[in-house]
Point group: C2
Chain length 385, copies 2
Amino acid sequence: MSGKALLAHSGGPTAVINSSLLGVVAEARKHAQCKGLYGARFGLRGILAEDFIDLFAQPEELLRSIGSSPSSALGTSRLEASHADLSRILDVFAAHDIRWFFYTGGNGSMGTAQEIHTLAIARGYELQVVGIPKTIDNDLLETDHTPGFPSAARFAACAVRDIGADNLALSNQVEVVEILGRNAGWLAASAALARHRPEDAPHLVYFPENRLKLNAFLSDVGRVYKQYKRCVVAVCEGQLDENGEPFGADVRTGSRGSLAQNLAHRLALLVTQELGLRARSEKPGLLGRSNGAHALSSDRAEAYACGSAAVVAAVEERGGNMVTLQCQRQPYVASTGLAALSKVAFLERTLPAEYRNAEGNDVTPAFLAYAAPIVGEIEAYPRFQ
Amino acid sequence: MSGKALLAHSGGPTAVINSSLLGVVAEARKHAQCKGLYGARFGLRGILAEDFIDLFAQPEELLRSIGSSPSSALGTSRLEASHADLSRILDVFAAHDIRWFFYTGGNGSMGTAQEIHTLAIARGYELQVVGIPKTIDNDLLETDHTPGFPSAARFAACAVRDIGADNLALSNQVEVVEILGRNAGWLAASAALARHRPEDAPHLVYFPENRLKLNAFLSDVGRVYKQYKRCVVAVCEGQLDENGEPFGADVRTGSRGSLAQNLAHRLALLVTQELGLRARSEKPGLLGRSNGAHALSSDRAEAYACGSAAVVAAVEERGGNMVTLQCQRQPYVASTGLAALSKVAFLERTLPAEYRNAEGNDVTPAFLAYAAPIVGEIEAYPRFQ
């Protein structure tokens, strides 16, 4: 089979999604049957509007520079494809003789990829659809972790370490740090990598996999504050209270109608009101996925490998799959594999129970053993003797 | 005069306050009349409690490592000295034969330094009090800028650039980024250094020196969104509305009883409610002063020079002064000077009118000419052609 290839991004950008693009371009160039490689501007929107970039025509130096920059240079989208959209996408593919489709995203995007794959079969249109894993939330099944997660985890850990150093210097204050991750506690858990000594931040880590009982939270904070005269809390943006309700949600955003919580602020307010302690909240927010300073070269390399492996899978006519990362630890060795789109589509891998302690306020050693090799060492700051 | 020296930190930590400490230690070691150098743990609290570290006894390697770490390794305090505290401080100085006092802080701290200086004279106690400038807010008079500001300004600019790259990739969203600075717009203004092209973030910058009229804000956001299908707003944490009231303040914190605003969240909520646009808020908060990743080596070097110059001033019996930075631009050359404590004590240098545009929603070229040489180039991310 020969024809053109199309790459599209989906969902929130990461620090390394451009590296996957670079891997796709480099590998696609090696295959003569690939007659062209387009990049869709702004994800599905670009496909529907036939708004493409000719990726083979981009200067090598620019591509390399983009490959080491955070965020998505192609643009991305949260658009959820309707039946009409899916049909239109196949029409566009046929009009441009697109035979290889690479879709970089999370579990929802893999669902869309699966739908496009199925529709192409139903229409008898020869198409290799291959998913490239991407999400800072690390909530995809079948892969050791997702490209983008290690860099975002490193940011979370460094942020909590740095805010912890500030909290130690001033003391007499409670800090609530809100961390990305939606409904999955992987990134919040990663904040624990900042802790080198028992008294280090974070003192408490909460996961959206558990509902947070307000009394337990206040009791935890009070106990830590009594011991250390300070407290740093890491909490995932998707944390719900004991009734399954968000904390202080009052902004309705986006097409999904999702509620933007006012989580960390609300928790700081409760600490002040109920415990009478000085409390602040910090919400680095999207900086946690878009910052370049904490992007890991290992994460970039794995993202690149996933892009490259996607092209190889398409060449080998193994469409209908998503590329996965298969990793050994001690020593850490990563390689790519494939998993059927149907096994990952629309499924969320939340933080397993064995990675959360019984009290629901910290990680377990098993989590640290999982995460440390992919996030790298978070250097401790020195202290006077 | 010979005797011992004492160094204490005051107010919020910065990324380079430890470099000033290193400068004090290195210079003090050169002077035989300096019989010892103490560091007070947790600022004034440490003086009152006679909780000192022997800085001359610290291993050289540890000192160097601390000198390049963010936050305050000594610890610091926001304690405001009462008359009784001031008297006690002089008693402690006399008990330990402390003849040189170095106080690293902002304008309030320089006020305390001035009070200690005056009380020592009144008591006839020989004491050289020298202030070392330190504040990310850059709101000290008599100095070109304050150590700590350049690194925090770089963080603010990089954060807005990175969130801007994310905002561009997804588009169709308004981002409100809350930036440190209390009542002074220096750091919010510095976010403008992220902008390389007219369409780059930040699209709007607001300063606490101007009250923010809600209608003007909404009109600005609506106009930018119409033009670019997105908008990134940089706003200083101390921004007040047209009535001089905080936005969404509901957390009363600290001994000063200051209100913690819920500023960025509140503004995002208003954008959603009034303009019907998807909006988010990000509040990196204390990460803006405590992060190590964006600390500038030039800022460290200037902080070190201020610490060193403070010791020289004390040796030359020029107490009652604060060290200043005197800078030329084109080419950039910095040197230290001295200014009377009385000229800086309790006085706030806010962002001058010539650095704010007439509409109050952006900086002027004059600000960029001031800030760029001390903050350095903020590299733009590449884009497809």
